[in-house]
Symmetry: C2
Subunit: 269 residues, 2 copies
């Protein structure tokens, strides 16, 4: 049965970034089976057009559907911002969660001065999707945003602690930090990889909203609502699919998740 | 007729990098018609696998063939290194030139101490294709290479003169420069965008080999050989095709080529 509690949670992203979501789900919902697809043959998404992003999202959701998941998590903010409806359509009635909405909710809950900063890919920021989502919850919140196009390659290439990454981050964040924001949304699933560095630049007074953590909380809530929580399952390795370079992905997985992964499967897009 | 002198020279690359080749061809062969395809929907190539790169190369060459070019130039070193035979197959007897061979030849001509450095994408460097090409010309040359995976995103995002790019470059080049090389091949068509910075780090004694310039010389030579030089044509705008974001590409083109481009066409891959 596709909707049984023992079915996997399907998660997809453009590449390795969504592993931050896998990690958060594993930690909060250790009994759940996880199915993950990373579109490593076409990463990055955030510098591409809406038409292309929607086409890719359709393919990605279609791959997950073959494995009959009980829920789909869009672990890619760019897809959440520009192609969420496409995923819902492919999902045919399954609950679909987007990191964007989860991040927006958590940010509004945490902000005390109603001034929220958002960083993301060029496509996500240009879409204004975070402003819409935040203002749909609270129209009085002021949203300030900044595109950080180099963060994805810096994260993918392992530059999390590099002074060059820090220099780039300083520039990306400078104007945002002048706006007296008290909350900063990491609006791209790759960014938690750079969280330590971003936190250092933002300073101790700004709350960092990590969309990976917020989506895990949201997933638990929605699964409970649908009565699909799996609390009897044994912890299993996540089932990992990629469209390119499974060996590289396997190595990165082990780094990210802190556990050995038996296999990463290659699928065609 | 497909092979007439007035047919276009077909050039392709993964993204904007190949415009450095367009510029070099325009400058050396101003009467030639140029057809360019940039696969902006799937850029970058150099961090992807050989299987994926070969599939993409097949698509790219197929797109050019629809316009009946008289020659194909592979302006992407990664494709030159890993999928040159695929392009020759699709080209069905047309002369096909790869930036890699052209760069290797010019480097051997220039080196006095037979110690040549090569920088390129991860895929190009891992393939050892430059070493093979250089040693096929002169087996006594020692080749030292370094992958520079962040150079493509840095070039694509306009960081040519940025201190963060310079810091990254310094690290990429450090070990190479300890090897007493006297010649450095820019083994990726994006890298000429960063040439000024690379030159500054390499110092005045190292000759920088720009594959864009060498391929233009090679193209003239081969076209003359095939009696397909167009010396009567009027200078025309290059015909530009991309798989995504034509407006962004148009703006970058104008920056690169120093001329207004009337139109950039969107094609599907």
């Amino acid at each position: 049965m596709t909707t049984s509690a023992s079915a996997p949670i399907g998660i997809f992203d453009s590449g390795i970034g969504g592993l931050t979501v896998v990690k958060a789900i594993q930690s909060l919902l250790p009994s759940e089976r996880i199915l993950y697809f990373g579109d490593t043959a076409r990463v990055p998404y955030g510098s591409k057009s809406q038409v292309t992003i929607r086409k890719y999202a359709q393919d990605d959701a279609g791959i997950l559907m073959k494995y009959q998941p009980k829920m789909i998590i869009v672990a890619c903010n760019t897809v959440s911002a520009l192609a969420f409806d496409v995923v819902e359509q492919i999902g045919k009635g399954l609950p679909v969660l987007g990191v964007l909405e989860a991040g927006a909710e958590l940010a509004v809950q945490h902000s005390r001065n109603a001034r929220i900063g958002v960083i993301g890919t060029s496509a996500t920021i240009a879409s204004n999707a975070y402003s819409f989502a935040i203002n749909a919850i609270d129209p009085d919140v002021e949203v300030f945003s900044s595109a950080c196009p180099l963060f994805v390659p810096l994260a993918e290439e392992g530059y999390a602690d590099h002074p060059a990454a820090s220099m780039v981050a300083q520039e990306y964040l400078e104007k945002l930090l002048e706006q007296d924001i008290d909350t900063l949304v990491l609006g791209c699933t790759h960014y938690p990889i750079l969280k330590h560095m971003i936190k250092k630049i933002a300073g101790p007074d700004i709350i960092i909203i990590d969309s990976a953590e917020s989506i895990a909380l949201k997933a638990r809530e929605v699964l409970a609502e649908y009565d699909r929580l799996n609390d009897s399952g044994d912890a299993a390795f996540p089932h990992l699919l990629v469209s390119d370079l499974p060996q590289k992905f396997k190595a990165l997985c082990e780094l990210f998740l802190g556990q050995e992964i038996p296999d990463v499967e290659l699928v065609e897009v």
